[in-house]
Subunit: 306 residues, 2 copies
């Protein structure tokens, strides 16, 4: 099992020939988690081979156009290619009105279900058997959310020798124990999972900051994440501009990563002024060595280490 | 002088990796005429090197998303790159509300002037010294317009031998006569342009049908156009589907071109089902030999023949 992350759009407000506006796709066991949906996201999904029919959750950080303008076209295309599953969209207050107005006014009438949830207070917004999605408030001038996709604890490591010693025959019963169920042996004895498993293991965790100043809430949200995808619009010498516009410098993003103790940092929302992103990268790596700069169609795979 | 036409998006409702949604740019003496503005048009303009600062007129045929969803992002980007000139947008009733809502809700506040004109009856909508833009009603189910960009008559051919015979010295005065002004010679004699020019010559004419069934109004609008860009969504065998969805087959578009006596036909709004467009092309050419199929970034140049 692993999580695959595909950067679909990595520009700041103005796209370039190399960078489309913001969107990051995360694939997990066939499900698609889309963070932001700037103009052109549907075509970026086509180029990346992501597909329109999966179980899909879209998380919008804030209402600025470079994070939202791909929604109506994507919603329309999903309908035209025959999507049947409902589409769930989460975002800040106002996202429902934006979607309902635009979808109606461009003549789209999706026949699949469209479930839109507005979030005005930070916390858990989606919980499934194996993962949870939480938000924190970002600091961007206008109302903005950061998102964490966090897998729940997985069962501990399975020790075959312990199972054998307890008389559990190899096969079906081992699998049940590994998945956390009690099993009953032929002699009537009950074996519990904790007798054959190590301590529960942590799952993977990804945080997407959206557009933001460095923020204590996002540091808290990002604690020990395997991957932090953070606003890195400018280099340190433009820190005044970053402050004014509600963005972070590469240096500030690296400090967030360091404080949160994440494993890896990827900077995105890169200003169009940086055709060469080396200055951003060098600056970030001085503070946080495991940093990199997103580019469109960059793919990362996160795997369990234990 | 010439007109340059750049196809920025040539797909039907659903884009593909090869085709972006509808938009055609026409460049004339530094001015930009943009017909439709589907999602992604701003980036297509970047790839084509069209630029965001020109005198620009945008003409929207109808409110479906694949013709409009590039507007808010383009308007926002033009502002972010410092556009100063006002932007004029023409379209059907509802286009103003669509633009005002989307631009406001995505947080854009263009500092250049945005002049939006809604057109509910066909006729002339824009007249400049050298050209006129007219509309006709298309037949697409919902309200839709077709547009003609038509240059006015140009002065006739200049005959140097006639000018010399009348005693007009080569140089500045020849230029004035060519541009249609009387000139006074040193001996006080007046020479009129018609004494040295042939009959007025026609200008160039381009028609963009937008999404439509074959229509008498569009045939009338297209009379003797140098270029007709027409809906050619389907091949003839899907004529029932074309009728139901308010589109044209390649065959029907070719018949329109033939009846209107245009010089050249380019089919666009190509259904995603045609990875190979040969069937459409062959069908159109049987009826109207000078047909071709648009593709993204196809460039045509129309020149005066006389």
């Amino acid at each position: 099992m692993s999580l695959e992350i595909i950067f679909l759009g990595t520009s700041a407000g103005v796209p370039t020939t190399k960078r489309s506006t913001s969107s990051v796709a995360v694939l997990r066991k066939g499900e698609l988690f889309l963070f932001d949906c700037g103009e052109g996201t549907q075509r970026q999904m086509m180029f990346a081979g992501v597909g329109f029919s999966r179980e899909t959750y879209i998380f919008i950080t804030h209402l600025h156009g470079d994070h939202t303008l791909g929604l109506p076209g994507l919603i329309q295309t999903m309908d035209m290619v025959g999507r049947a599953k409902p589409l769930r969209i989460f975002g800040p207050p106002g996202i429902r009105g934006f979607i309902e107005f635009t979808v109606r006014s461009v003549g789209a009438k999706p026949s699949y279900g469209l479930q839109i949830s507005e979030t005005s207070t930070p916390g858990s917004i989606l919980e499934a058997k194996e993962y949870i999605v939480r938000t924190a408030l970002a600091e961007h001038g206008s109302f903005a959310l950061a998102y964490a996709l966090e897998e729940k604890q997985r069962p501990g490591r399975f020790y075959p020798e312990k199972a054998r010693a307890l008389g559990v025959p190899e096969g079906f019963l081992w699998g049940r124990l590994q998945r956390g169920h009690n099993v009953r042996l032929k002699d009537g004895k009950i074996v519990k999972p904790e007798e054959v498993l190590g301590p529960p293991r942590r799952g993977l965790k990804i945080v997407y900051s959206g557009d933001t100043r460095p923020s204590e809430a996002i540091i808290e949200l990002s604690k020990e994440a395997d991957l932090l995808i953070h606003d890195g619009t400018f280099e340190g010498s433009l820190s005044e501009k970053a402050r004014e516009e509600g963005h972070s410098t590469a240096l500030e993003a690296a400090e967030v990563a360091l404080k949160a103790g994440v494993k890896r940092l990827v900077l995105t929302h890169i200003s169009a002024r940086y055709e060469d992103t080396k200055p951003l990268l060098e600056e970030a790596r001085k503070i946080f060595p495991n940093s990199s700069i997103a580019e469109d169609f960059l793919r990362l795979r996160l795997k369990y280490e234990d």
